[in-house]
């Protein structure tokens, strides 16, 4: 529909420079430049390297997105940008670009939350988000269980990791197995040929007195590393495929078990899974299986929309426009620890609007 808001979104919270363009809930362009190769030899994202790469990539990526979408910058109804959370210096490059672009084009600016964007992106794949939606966000940076009744105004944290993110555990185990960085895709590949029940690795925080929706992957990480080291010390060959499959099973078992339990406890019949780890084939399969058994509808966007990208930011920006949320002002700053409960960063002059909260309900 031509009267739906046309929004460009900019994402630079970590190592991907993303620029996406959407019209309402329709994806028009999703341009991403990644600096992941430059980080590989360090085994993780180096903030200064990421920030330098964002500055280099920004203008070409904006141009690529506009070409891909076949729209003119003049026709945009708004510019959205990840204001946080994320790496401070990296976020600041995107925020600076978005502010300058919005100002020069005379368009409204929306500083939005990275985590809410991860949830909202599913609108581009499966249409408007059911309200409420339970969301499991899992990546190298996040492992959170969030409940949202309105993605522009109400996102509640149900649980989160108390130590490492799930994706970090994948990276670490891949490193111990000498499989390279990032670890997610390569572990997934080896695991397909391994036995997930070969080794009984621990399931963190699943005891009866443990917090029901929080996660812990640090103990698992250590247990797997010790198991591998013990094999090596004994001069035995490490069964890489079985280790990968058993480790992966321990992670996705806990993630899906807690997500489904949260849905049941809260009476929510939709679960969305986002973040880079949502590309994991076993996570998708097990989530599907358990959701079906529990009568929950599972929504998982295609892998490219699960990892960090600009389209997710544009998707949330478009929703802000559609629901007439207040714009950000020119003083908008990057907030590396923006709380998940703030889906966007309205300007100081505006009073938070609630009147149109139930527009779609």
């Amino acid at each position: 529909m031509a009267d739906e808001p046309l929004v460009l979104g900019i994402e630079t919270s970590c190592d991907e420079t993303g620029v996406g363009i959407v019209r309402g809930t329709t994806l028009l362009a999703d341009a991403v430049a990644s600096s992941v190769d430059e980080h590989a030899r360090f085994g993780g994202v180096v903030p200064e390297v990421a920030s330098r790469a964002h500055l280099e990539a920004m203008v070409p990526t904006i141009e690529r997105a506009l070409t891909e979408a076949g729209v003119s910058a003049r026709d945009l109804d708004g510019i959205a940008v990840t204001a946080g959370p994320g790496l401070a210096g990296a976020l600041l490059v995107g925020v600076s670009a978005a502010k300058a672009y919005a100002y020069a084009l005379g368009k409204p600016l929306y500083g939005v939350n990275h985590l809410a964007s991860h949830i909202c992106v599913d609108q581009l794949e499966h249409g408007p988000l059911p309200e409420p939606t339970m969301a499991l966000l899992v990546s190298g940076g996040h492992s959170s269980l969030l409940l949202s009744s309105d993605i522009t105004s109400d996102v509640r944290p149900m649980g989160a990791t108390i130590d490492d993110a799930a994706g970090e555990a994948f990276d670490k185990i891949a490193r111990v197995l000498n499989l390279g960085f990032p670890g997610g895709p390569v572990i997934d590949r080896y695991a397909r040929e391994g036995d997930p029940a070969a080794i009984a690795f621990p399931r963190g925080l699943t005891g009866p007195r443990d917090p029901a929706y929080d996660f812990s992957f640090s103990g698992l990480k250590t247990a797997v590393a010790r198991w591998i080291e013990a094999k090596r010390a004994a001069g035995e060959e490490v069964p890489v495929r079985d280790v990968a499959a058993s480790f992966q099973e321990a992670v996705v078992d806990v993630l899906t078990r807690k997500a489904v339990r949260a849905c049941k406890d809260q009476g929510v019949d939709h679960l969305m899974i986002g973040g880079g780890v949502a590309a994991n084939s076993r996570l998708r399969a097990l989530a599907q299986e358990r959701c079906e058994a529990a009568g929950i509808r599972l929504r998982v966007p295609r892998p490219k929309l699960c990892t960090d990208n600009g389209a997710m930011v544009a998707a949330l920006g478009a929703e802000m426009v559609a629901r007439d949320r207040p714009v950000s002002d020119w003083e908008l700053s990057a907030d590396s620890s923006l709380p998940v409960t703030d889906p966007h960063v309205p300007g100081h002059d505006h009073v938070h609007e609630t009147a149109k909260e139930n527009l779609y309900s």
């Binding site: 180096v46 994320g86 959170s144």
Partner: protein
């Protein structure tokens, strides 16, 4: 000609509008930690004071440093994006050259800014328009021999009087000086720099612990 100049390579967030002959409006605020917040409102203010709109600008001038990276990138990203949106050229100028120009000295001198970590960004000049050395980053004590007896300007010089006993103002760069210098060079048909940051140091290759863990506990 209407040039919008900005620089965020020193603790100053500085913006100026130059019509090819004179600076017609400018703003400078010193706050090393808030470049990102302050720059756009400053641009808006300067345009407002001059009674002009951004789309009247025919070129952007930006200080390319050297300077602390996080702040430096705010200016460069803003300048580059303005260039993209407006379809106008973006000219880079070495931030130290802007300081040298504002110093308005005829004889040899040194420009030094604060590079943090007990180092300075610096270069030697024959006069206010002529740089003799490439910008470099060093510990002040290691420069003593190369800058002995010379007057010096910039916060880096003022910070280390043992190395720079003849240090004086200006302390930070002003976009007004940067714009005037760029207008002069453009009028003379000189090529300015690409809008790329002068980093001078390799990135710290440190992966912070829990580098991506950003959700509230």
């Amino acid at each position: 000609m209407l040039l919008l100049a900005l620089d965020t390579a020193t603790p100053a967030v500085t913006v100026a509008l130059h019509d090819g002959t004179d600076v017609i409006a400018s703003s400078s605020q010193v706050d090393a930690r808030r470049h990102g917040e302050l720059l756009l409102p400053a641009v808006d203010r300067v345009l407002d004071r001059a009674g002009r709109r951004l789309d009247a600008v025919t070129g952007i001038v930006v200080g390319v440093g050297p300077g602390p990276y996080t702040g430096l990138r705010v200016g460069l990203m803003t300048a580059e994006t303005f260039g993209l949106a407006l379809g106008v050229p973006v000219h880079g100028v070495c931030t130290l050259d802007g300081l040298a120009y504002a110093a308005d000295l005829d004889g040899p001198f040194v420009v030094a800014t604060d590079a943090r970590r007990k180092e300075v960004y610096w270069a030697r000049y024959a006069d206010s328009r002529t740089r003799l050395t490439d910008p470099a980053v060093d510990r002040p004590a290691d420069l003593a021999g190369q800058v002995a007896g010379l007057p010096a300007v910039g916060a880096g010089a003022l910070l280390y009087p043992d190395t720079f006993p003849r240090a004086h103002a200006p302390e930070h760069v002003s976009a007004a000086a940067l714009a005037a210098l760029a207008a002069e060079r453009l009028a003379a048909g000189e090529e300015l720099l690409a809008p790329r940051p002068l980093y001078l140091r390799r990135p710290d290759a440190q992966v912070p612990r829990n580098y991506k863990v950003v959700t509230p506990r």
